[in-house]
Subunit: 476 residues, 2 copies
């Protein structure tokens, strides 16, 4: 039955594809950038839009107030509400809860986008726009999967719940507390949690069984009370920028912070073998990102450092001169932003202490009169699942049905903090079922979702709801 | 005669002070930021405004086309025209040429300004606004000095010429060629060149006899073809930001580049004694900039490193994440902006080679697949004058008349590239006669010019024109 359903998906009686693409266009047009406080009204509007859509479909919808966010300057700002929805309430069926987010990373045309990032633009079958792949189209694909059953007047094979948030890109502020608060109500009847917030590794569909966490730091060095003319004052003041770059500068490109490497779980022989079998084209990967050399030249090392070893990235510096042109300034207060990806068995609280202690000790050696302040603004744990769990077995069957091939079993270098929270708080099993392409450019310029992945992904979700309904109660 | 004139300056028959402040307000309101190509129309409007004012005063005015500027991306942009003007053409009199600039450094309210930087605002006798002190009020003070003579229907004691440019803050692009071209015409009858583009060292008026030059560099590290998600790609790519910070990071805060320190003229005993005698309050200086420790703890070392030793400042990084909030990005192309202040006997061409070679050699050690490109975008030479020249003696007399004290003889840590060009091309003698206060905040937030310095500075210029007319021909 389901099989014929997703074959029919492009016929008018199941889904109006024009409508499907227009919806993604409408959602991408909302600048729901959760890291920019000035875009907060857009973010609120985004959550309202999601709630209205689910309500129109007949879901039982709530906009859950999750309180306020404290900004670094001490001010507070209303968090975007979390949308919860429920379709079906048949206690004889399994209940799945689909998690997604509709906030996005920052994007500006002048960052190097070929098209307006908030105006969904189709080029060669790809739909370009900020948030198209991360995570608006996957959330819509789940909505369309439910609509497909509704369009054919078929009962959903499982009860379907939604939890859609608007703060994922900055650490899911407020969501943990909301899940905790509703653990024994909204989440009590949930059997399985499904997350589709990542991508495949190649053209082969994938199931994801692990993610890295993330500890995001601000290291602020403050000196003079205001910016100074570098001609007039250069040579007399100890410049905060010199201090900051001095403590960040590291000739090796490795993590020098004591204790971090030691905490990492060793690579097992079984893992090594799994990595060895994964379809992964190193040259393709290099071409895609446009480099001729990677950190590691063999597949296993590369995958291991992408998925299960920590890494540090310096994202940028706030407070220094960052515009085009020249400015002869000594910036008075500069804040480096960097993050360390977490893996088992690292502990964010420990990493916070290790990083803070290390930077303060390096800074102390400079004997600078400037002040250093280290803050961990995001502390998200990694997550790991069992690839032989029935949820994953059901996923393998659904993928086989839609794509006629076996999935790659992969991990994710990025962070989906909520996976870990769901696991810790609800105790439910989780599966990550990505539909994003391997080259979607998440967080980058020219992010896109292909028509193919969007539509075939919707079919996969339709099939998967059916497969999950077959899982035997005893195996839960 | 002159003495009574500047005593009358605040009476209506000499200068309408309301008008004087309104003119400064009007000029500051024009966002003539020469480093921002998007503000170029404002810069053109600024030059037109200056030309119109000088024309209204009866000057012989020209807007001199100095061609186009080549941008880093290969595009070209029209340079702001240079305004030249002439008042008086009496061959029995000396001819002075006053140089000034009406372009400004970038300024945004959110950089930490207490008031709108382009809306001149008076607080406690200070006039806050971008360009107020650097260099719009000093240019206007010279204009008002000429107007004062005109208001009393007095002949100017010397012929007065003006050269007002609009590219000083980014290296006086195009001006050198213009001076060269007009060496035997506009500049041929000029006896002396006067520059008032700097400030005093304390509350005591000053004459400036030297400036540092400036070599401004862009060091660009380019890696992936676009920004990447730091979770997804962190650990696999060699990050340009790590490379850039690695080659800039220097534990000492000193200039490590071989050959630079060696080129610096040694400090003479005479200089040491001069510095010793200068009125300079170290505690005041520390308070003003809001630090409790400086690079050097004694006055002579500090002044020497402010004026006659080179220094390096890192101004910022373009291309990395610089906004508030968090973004988990691996920036694909990052450009550090730093400058090295030049002193005798450094040669910018040599510094360019030394810096480029040094950065490439440090970068080569990293064995990074990323590409490094080092560009010197400004290369301005230092300048040094003889403090016993008749021009300086005339300055000392004028200061004594207006302020009833002897000036400090000082140097300037910043750069006025044109001083060196005037000297090299025209062979004329130059004096720098600042009227800016020691705490005007040039290039910083909350730049200001005090009413006192603006008005007393105008009086000084009136008196100085008279003193210069007394210089004996033989001593030229």
């Amino acid at each position: 039955l389901t099989f014929s359903l997703f074959q029919d998906i492009s016929s008018d009686n199941v889904l109006d594809l024009g409508c499907v693409f227009q919806m993604l266009r409408d959602w991408v047009a909302i600048e729901s950038d959760s890291s920019n406080v000035q875009k907060r009204p857009e973010l609120h509007r985004m959550m309202e839009t999601v709630a209205q859509k689910l309500q129109l479909m007949g879901g039982t919808v709530q906009l859950v107030d999750i309180g306020e966010q404290e900004l670094p300057d001490g001010q507070t700002l209303e968090l975007p509400k979390v949308v919860t929805a429920q379709f079906g309430n048949d206690s004889s069926k399994h209940t799945v809860c689909i998690y997604g987010h509709v906030d996005v990373q920052p994007a500006k045309l002048e960052d190097g986008w070929a098209t307006d990032p908030y105006n969904l633009t189709e080029i060669n079958g790809n739909l370009y726009g900020r948030g198209a792949s991360d995570n608006k189209a996957p959330v819509l694909a789940w909505i369309h999967a439910v609509e497909a059953y509704q369009a054919l007047s078929m009962d959903l094979p499982v009860n379907v719940k939604f939890v859609i948030e608007g703060m994922e890109e900055t650490g899911s502020n407020g969501l943990d507390a909301m899940i905790m608060a509703q653990r024994d109500t909204f989440f009590s009847e949930v059997d399985y949690i499904i997350i589709s917030d990542c991508g495949w590794l190649s053209r082969r569909p994938a199931l994801t069984y692990g993610t890295r966490g993330n500890c995001y730091f601000f290291a602020e060095v403050e000196g003079p009370k205001q910016d100074l003319h570098s001609g007039v004052y250069g040579g007399t003041v100890i410049e905060p920028m010199t201090d900051l770059i001095g403590i960040l500068g590291d000739p090796s490109g490795k993590i020098l912070i004591p204790g971090i490497r030691e905490a990492v779980a060793p690579l097992s022989d079984e893992e090594w073998k799994m990595y060895q079998d994964i379809q992964f084209d190193m040259d393709n990967y290099k071409n895609k990102i446009g480099v001729n050399q990677l950190m590691y030249s063999n597949k296993v090392d590369l995958l291991a450092h992408m998925w299960r070893y920590p890494t540090v990235s310096i994202h940028g510096i706030e407070g220094a001169f960052s515009d085009p042109g020249t400015k002869t300034v000594i910036p008075a207060k500069v804040t480096a932003k960097f993050s360390i990806r977490q893996v088992p068995d690292m502990d964010p609280a420990m990493v916070k202490k290790q990083v803070t202690d290390y930077l303060h000790s390096v800074f102390a050696k400079r004997k600078s009169p400037n002040k250093l302040k280290v803050t961990m603004v995001i502390g998200a744990k990694p997550w790991l699942a069992d690839t032989h769990h029935p949820l994953y077995e059901a996923g393998k069957v659904a993928i086989k049905r839609v794509f006629n091939m076996d999935p790659d079993l992969i991990r994710e270098g990025g962070t989906i903090p909520i996976a870990r929270t769901f696991q810790d708080v609800t105790g439910k099993s989780i599966i990550m079922m990505p539909i994003g392409g391997f080259d979607d450019g998440l967080h980058s310029q020219n992010e896109k979702m292909s028509r193919y992945n969007y539509i075939e992904g919707t079919k996969l979700f339709i099939a998967y709801l059916n497969e999950v309904s077959q899982i035997k109660r005893t195996s839960v």
